[in-house]
Amino acid sequence: MSTMVLRPTSPAEVQEAVRAHRRILPRGGGSKPALSTPHQGQTVLDMTGLTGVLEYDPGEYVFVARAGTRLAEVEALLAQHGQYLPFDPPFVAQGATLGGAVAAGLSGPLRQRYGGVRDFILGVQFVDGTGQLVRGGGKVVKNAAGFDLPKLMVGSLGRLGVLTEVAFKVFPFPKATATLQVDFPSLAEALEALYRLLGSVIELYALDLVPPDTLVLRLGGLPEALPARLRRLEEFLGRPAQPITGSLEAAYWKDQNDLNRLGEGCLVKVPLSPKRIPALEEALQGVPRRYLSGGQLLYLAWSGPLQALDGLLKRQGLPGLVLRGVVEKPLIGLNLEQAFARKVTAALDPEGRFQPYAAQN
């Protein structure tokens, strides 16, 4: 199979490419290969030529950049001013781009504190399926003008348009952080502690469940308040825990950012709520996995046939998104398609240029 790869360096070139080619697959850094490997007849738009920070004034908490800009570059620039992307996109060291993080709709462990990518996106510019350059949202932290196209593009997997520019709200990173790893005698007790934490006044930057029965918590804030808060947290949990701090702590979370470390096979994202965990845990014995953000998000590495996982998720009433692995369709499990989805897709891509599977139909 031969695939044509184009590398536009301006929105106008993206428009030109979309108008000239029947089937288009946008690709950023390629860190989520299941989403960026072309199918028969698709022309790849390599977006890594569309880079650069367009606006960043730390006092505004707003950041605007071309979609192909690497997250690593964004994070380094923000860190110079003590700021960060609070939704904590994964695969930073693996070359992930801003546009790819939005199109895949991916957030990491730190989403626990303030929210995911949909909560921080402010504006988008994209090329739709008719080749029009479209802007939605804006560059201010509060805005209610027009349809919320920025949110629509979150998780759109390149099906609704090719992102060329994105604007984000950013926040100050806490001046001090510490991480606690707390083991419980059983999953039930770990979950009970997780629920108590979620309903409490304790504010956590991360609250992960590492099966079978370990909670990993990250506290952040002013250094002078941290010791007292750590003591309170230990009392609250009623279990001893050794805090990890300093460079060791930073390295731990940097490692977690690369979800590939979970294990071999297909890497899959599953959105859920904590009440689904007990049933899932019964079904997922032996599968490398980690629950992020207080049980709202599961990433797992699946080595068996993908149809088996598809069936498992369907039985549990959950959808899934394959990020790594060879797949026909990256969306598995529960089918979330409905009339609203079909109609909006047809409006933005009437000729199906971004529809990856139409070629096989």
Binding site: D57, G59, Y61, V62, G82, G105, S107, G116, R118, D119, Q132, L133, G136, G138, V140, V141, K142, N143, A144, A145, G146, F147, D148, L149, P150, K151, L152, M153, V154, G155, S156, R159, L160, P172, K175, G199, S200, V201, E203, G221, L222, E224, A225, R229, R232, K269, P271, L272, S273, K275, S293, P319, L321, L331, L336, Q338, A339, F340, V344, A347
Partner: protein, 479 residues
Amino acid sequence: MTPALRELASLFPPTRLLTQPGELAPYASDALTAFRAQPLAVVLPESHAEVVAAVRWCAKHRVPYVARGSGTSLSGGSLPVEGGIVIGLNRMNRLLRLEPKERIAVVEPGFINLQVSLAAAPYGLYYAPDPSSQPVSTIGGNLAFNSGGAHCLKYGMTSNHVLAAKVVLPDGETVELGQESLEGVGPDWLGLFVGSEGLLGIATEITLRLLPKPEAFHTLLAAYDSLEKAGEAVAAVVASGLLPGAMEIMDALAIEAAEAAVQAGYPREARALLIVELEGETPQVEAEARYLDEVIRASGAYEVRIARSAEERMKIWKGRKAAFSAVGRLSPDYIVQDGVVPRSKLGQALAEIERLSERYGLRVANVFHAGDGNLHPLILYNGRVPGELERAEALAGEILRLCVALGGSITGEHGVGMEKRAYMPEMFSSEDLAAMRRIRLALDPLELANRGKMFPGEAPAAHSHGAHPLQRAGVISGG
């Protein structure tokens, strides 16, 4: 009665189908009272199935409709369509499910915003979005207009707190958007639906995310002898790395109004008041309060008060929250504007608004969500003085254009509605608007759902008092 109306009468009992002029009058307008329109009828559904029936009737007979709750829209977003149907959702006001452990509440669209927090309070939880209308406005309306409030910088707008919705599309089909998780896969369809101002359908069941109530608040009121100093104080707070839950500024006229209305005990002679509220875990808030104190001391405030009790905190907020309605005591009429500018442009925007105020000979009171750059200029006028309303509207329009020119938005939280549709081309290109219109037409080819709102050029929905200022200036055409 026409055959179509008879058919509608077979779907709703007489007590929930209003057709008499006297019954329709309260529905002829929303909180933007400068616009009025006479609907053909009002229906008051009590279930999802009845909403479907009403929408299907509208689709069959090609009758435009608007869904509304308490009618608190300040942008004319729930103004009826002349000769159309109003679908009043106040009777669909049940709390369907509250799961404190999972931190979610499922409500009908007519459920009142503040009631969500009251229902969640026994579990130490609350619903974060707090528009100033929260004691009366409904969740359905909040969802349609992506309502804001004082806490948006840190917590986001309504859209960030809606997880799922059952929606009746304009053709009567029902879809489920979103899910109970904070995360999702595939395009964020719900994200598009929230804030679509009733143009894409009607939500009949809404799943909301609840948050734990913060353990501690630190609420500070600082008085300044100039607006500029208050604005610079906000910039200094941000630069210090603090992330307050809210930062609000009121100017002298707004202070006067608030004092006249609720006697909040504000320093009356101040040229500007700044309210900053920190919230979170007690040890953290205590430490942050020390930093905040240093920043505010250095900012040139001539008086600083700290709320020492919940009562003192409520009193500080009472004045701020009452400021809009309080302005009614200073002037027979006023227009509330809702523009946004980048925070660094606040000073420039305020200076320009002051110049415009003098040029137009109309007083402007300023209340704003300083952390978000969300301005609320209140333009005072007397509707009985010929030409004054038109002058006020022209001034309001200039303020909106100023916001866009400074890199901001024509609306931070009230929505576009009827009021601002003529200004959409100031902010978006014709290609941007065309893409939004294509989405609208894909879901509602007959443009029945809240016809005439948000987009310039859609069929006129109402008789207003005259041509829009931009229309007179030749900038736009159409109603």
